[in-house]
Structure formats: C-alpha cells, structure tokens
Subunit: 194 residues, 2 copies
Amino acid sequence: MERVSLALLHYPVRQGGRTITSSITNFDIHDLARLAATYGLGAFYLVHPDEGMRALATEFVSHWFDGAGRLFNPDRTAALEKLRIVRMLDEAIADIEKREGERPFILATSATERPKTLSGEQVAGLGARPLLVLFGTADGISEELDDIIDGYAEPIDPGTGYNHLSVRSAASIFVDRLHSCKYKPLPFLRNEGV
Amino acid sequence: MERVSLALLHYPVRQGGRTITSSITNFDIHDLARLAATYGLGAFYLVHPDEGMRALATEFVSHWFDGAGRLFNPDRTAALEKLRIVRMLDEAIADIEKREGERPFILATSATERPKTLSGEQVAGLGARPLLVLFGTADGISEELDDIIDGYAEPIDPGTGYNHLSVRSAASIFVDRLHSCKYKPLPFLRNEGV
C-alpha cells in the first residue's frame, strides 16, 4: 500500500465550534508511524504550523535515531522512518507529487457526515491513484479545508449512538478497512448497524 | 456487541524472552474505553496485579467522574463507565459470568502464531456465547496463561514483514473486524497479503 499516505492535522481543526491549533501528542506519532510501517504505507505526515511544536516533535523522535532508543527498540526506529514532520498540508501534497509523479487524491475522514462523502465503492474505485488520507486532531478537520479536499470517507460509525474513537483508533481501523478493500472488490466503509 | 468484553493484561506478559509485569499506560485506558463505548461492548477490564498501579489508574480516572473532566468532556466520562480495574484475569472472568450467567470464551490475541489458533470462521462460529478478548501489553501475553485461554485469534498481519502495531491499534482493528464478522457470515481474520 505504498501509494497510500496518512496526514495528521493539528490546524485547521475544530474544537467547541471554533477553528483552533491543537498540540502534538507523542502517542499519535508512534502509533501512526507503527501503523504506516505495518501496512506498508508510503509516509505518515505530521502537520503542524508552529515551528516550536515541530522542533519538539523532532526532538522526541531523535531519541529513536540518535539516542538510546535505536538500541533499545530498533523496530521503533524502522517505524519512525515513515514520519515526515511538515508545516502545512501543501508540503505533504507536494512531497507525494514529487515521489509519485502525480497529485494524490485528498481523502478526509470525519466522525460525522460531511459534504462530498464518498461511498466505499467510490473509494475502492480510485484505483491506483496515490491517496492521501487526512485525520484531524481535536474535534476534527475544519471546513476551511473543504476546497483542497477531494472527498470525505464515510464515518466509521458502528451505530451505538456513541461515536468518539481516538484518532489513533480511527486511523488504525480506517487503514485496515482500506487494506481489505484493496485486495477484494468490496466496499470497506459500510455502516453495518450494531 | 454487549456480550463481547476486552481485557488488557499487564501480567503475565513477555519482554525480552522473560515474563514481566508492565506499567499502566493512561492512553490505553482512554483509547480502549472509547473503543468499548463506540462498539457497545460489555466492559473493558484493565488487569494489573499491583495495588499501587491500580490505585494510580483509579486516581487518573477519577478526574472524569469527580473532577473537572466530567464538565470538560462528558463523552469521556461515558466511555470510562465501561472500565473495570481488576487485579487478576480471574476477576474479569467471574464478573462476566455473574453478568451473563455463563463463562465467556477466552480468546487471546497475539502478533505471532500461537498454539490453539482459531480461524475467522471458528471465531464467528462461537455465536452468542460471551466472549472475553485478551490483549497483552509489552511483547504480548505470556505462555503461562495458555491453560486458561480457550483459543488464539489469527494475528493481524498485513504481511509486509513489519508487524508492530501498538496495542491500541491492534485492539481497535480487532474489534472492528469482530463487528463486521458479527453481521455477515464472513471470516474476519484473513491474512490477505499486501
């Protein structure tokens, strides 16, 4: 699945009805890098507009490249090779374009229905085009990005009335469903009820 | 899926070829409680033999019941209502037996093949029997529990040669696959290649 990449956005995201910038969470970095490595994705972009936050993330991660982490757990180092820390979504898109020779389809995810929602079949039908899957921190991706987003995936919603997965859980489930869809011609984002 | 429960084990688990007791990770508590609430599971048992560790977890969680957390994010409080902090796996089993009137099938998970591995069809075939799904922290569940375990699920392994998901990711993917299997008669733990 090397033509699929993930981007985790910290701006512009929603919280309490407003657009905010969220902080970086170290567990997100590790869990999503391990996910990207396990499923053989192209890259995992950690997107944050603040230079200080990006520097902090870079410092955390350096433990696994230059510090004792590489000796303690080389598997973690291998996973973090998937990580690219960037300032804006545009940088992630440009990086994929350079690598793949083609602009990726920008597929956003959300816990609630959004405009431009694609069915599982439609996502499966994107075929071999590079795919960049966006995940929002806080309460999700702000509408301000709707112009750059090509489509939203159907929410992961088992239908219990409670739908508050962590972004780590949602990204894991989404990539696993995407992986299944890639190898059989089935929709992978059905709402199946409970 | 209220007849399915999760248990996260901190002892006996493996690390570096030995059986150890691991520490509690606060992110595991929140991510697995949110997962249990989103999929409507019966309960999420956090299993730790050490009284001090259990007290620490109880204190962390109290922020969401007695502290400001309930006002700040009542959805988190709702998720944490799924949490039961227990000393040993036996306590989790006894609690389910009391609630369901029947001993649950003890299904363990592992990143590597183990004896007593069930196919997806076999797990689907367990039908309406209560199910307790075990996840190990550190490098996974120790063989010492094999006597109490009724079977292992097939590893989640996309086949890239790298297979090091966080327990948060693995539990999320497993529950989502279980949810799919519950509503269509398909194996949910196929190894589909990459």
